[in-house]
């Protein structure tokens, strides 16, 4: 399977200590990887290294230039920094994702606008194209930001804790959208909400300064404890679940 990028013993430091240390990590074309680990373990840092926003102090990240370069990665940030009262429409925000392709945008071509319309339709936002952001629900907003991440048709989609502001009604729907998107792009999804991570995730990467990759989607209790992410899942009745083997 063609790879998209490979990290070779990447270390990142913000001054004191390491945020990431000796990370070897490879992502292939149709991967759907859940990135888990404790807060402060370096999950967001990992995404920023991939986006090229943070330069590693040592090691390197190599992109498969036939498929991808640093400028064609879709990104759904953890918190949206935009002001939801800002006078922009849903279409405007989704179109702003074209900055993935062009660094300075003057005019939108009609093909860009058509593409925005397709994305809006695909994400079930039809009828809201000209709405401003403060008219939308949390779930709708999340879809708008997902639209912004995918309009450039990236080969790789990075999601930072997308569950954070999705209402539970929309959650299944959202993961179903991801499953469909996964057919045309690799997805890397950061989550510390391990119990609730989607069953569509094909494999896991555990990040806590170091990175351990689990090719199959199983998680063990010992492994969670070893990574300092104590999790207690409280449920009623039968819940589908997966348990990973512990690291060697």
């Amino acid at each position: 399977m063609p790879y998209l990028f490979e990290m070779q013993s990447v270390s990142v430091s913000y001054g004191a200590g390491y945020a990431l240390r000796d990370v070897d990590f490879m992502v292939n074309e149709s991967d759907f990887i859940g990135v888990i680990g404790p807060n402060g373990g370096g999950k967001t840092t990992l995404l920023k290294v991939i986006l090229g926003l943070i330069k590693p102090v040592s090691g390197a990240i190599v992109f498969n230039s036939e498929l991808i370069n640093g400028n064609s990665i879709g990104y759904l940030p953890q918190i949206t920094t935009g002001d939801n009262n800002y006078p922009v429409t849903v279409t405007d925000v989704i179109l702003s994702g074209m900055m993935i392709r062009k660094r300075i945008i003057s005019r939108m071509s009609s093909s860009d606008k058509k593409r925005a319309a397709v994305v809006i339709e695909e994400l079930g936002l039809s009828g809201l194209a000209h709405s401003s952001l403060n008219e939308l629900s949390g779930g709708q907003l999340q879809r708008v930001f997902l639209g912004r991440a995918i309009i450039g048709n990236p080969k790789l989609l990075l999601l930072d804790e997308p569950g954070n502001f999705v209402d539970s009604n929309f959650e299944n729907d959202f993961y179903e959208k991801l499953r469909i998107l996964n057919k045309r792009m690799a997805i890397l999804m950061v989550s510390h909400d391990i119990g609730m991570i989607s069953s569509h995730v094909k494999s896991y990467a555990c990040v806590n300064i170091g990175l351990h990759y689990h090719p199959s989607s199983e998680i063990t209790n010992e492994q969670l404890l070893a990574y300092g992410c104590p999790i207690q899942l409280i449920t009623h009745g039968e819940v589908p679940h997966t348990v990973l083997k512990s690291h060697s």
Partner: protein
């Protein structure tokens, strides 16, 4: 006319980016330049322009670097500019007859050069905003996201801020240091009563600004009141009327 074009474009940017306080800082800081201009005997508008642009860029720089809280920086610049202005005006021998004009605005002190300068400024702003409309919109909507992909975010922020500082300074001649801010902030707020689309806000701001300034001039001429005051008064009146109209008829889009 030119004043309403520049104020409409700059004002929409300021209001939607919540930069009203920053603009107040720029305006008052530029008073320092006016004072130095008087004292040293060069055109006070040039002094104001230099002070305005430097203080605007300074505040943007500090906020990018996050070395000091932005509102504190603005507060300091605001008062410092006024202080410098007052010091130099008092050091200047003789009374400065035009001082009131700079504070409250006056048609009498507006020269042909001022009008030409505002006209050029309008052209610059129109072409800048129409070429880079999308980029400016995206950066000011979600700077962090734009920064993820574009290395030019800071460049654009600095250019836009500098242009806005210049706009403010050029409009000081007409509306005065104390009132120019309202010339920039009221028209977009009138527009935002009935539209939330950025480009339409710009259009309606310019129109509202034009109506307000035109009516303000007429009143000022017949009543002999400083034009800045009559313009602002008219603009607020328009704002209230539009607000009432939309409260009574039809539900405005939020």
């Amino acid at each position: 006319m030119f004043a309403s074009i520049t104020a409409g474009l700059a004002g929409t940017y300021i209001v939607s980016r919540k930069m009203v306080f920053l603009s107040g800082g720029i305006t008052h800081a530029s008073f320092g330049g006016i004072g130095i201009g008087y004292f040293a005997g060069f055109n006070p508008v040039i002094g104001a322009a230099v002070f305005g642009i430097l203080s605007a860029l300074g505040v943007e720089y500090l906020s990018v670097r996050q070395k000091i809280r932005e509102d504190s920086a603005i507060g300091i610049l605001w008062a410092f500019g006024m202080a410098v202005g007052i010091i130099f005006i008092y050091l200047t021998p003789g009374y400065s007859p035009n001082l009131m004009g700079y504070l409250f605005g006056s048609i009498l002190t507006v020269t042909n050069a001022d009008i030409i300068a505002l006209g050029i400024m309008s052209l610059i702003l129109i072409s800048y905003f129409s070429v880079f409309y999308r980029t400016i919109l995206y950066i000011s909507y979600d700077e962090a996201f734009a920064r993820t992909y574009s290395p030019y975010v800071n460049t654009f922020k600095y250019i836009t801020t500098a242009l806005i500082a210049l706009t403010i300074v050029l409009n000081i001649r007409m509306a005065g240091v104390i009132l120019v801010l309202s010339l920039l902030t009221i028209p977009p707020n009138i527009a935002m009563i009935f539209t939330r689309v950025y480009s339409r806000i710009i259009f309606w701001s310019i129109l509202a600004g034009f109506l307000g300034t035109a009516a303000g001039y007429v009143i000022s001429y017949y009543a002999g009141i400083p034009v800045g005051a009559t313009i602002i008064f008219t603009l607020v009146l328009i704002w209230i009327i539009v607000k009432i109209i939309f409260l009574i008829f039809g539900s405005p889009r939020k």
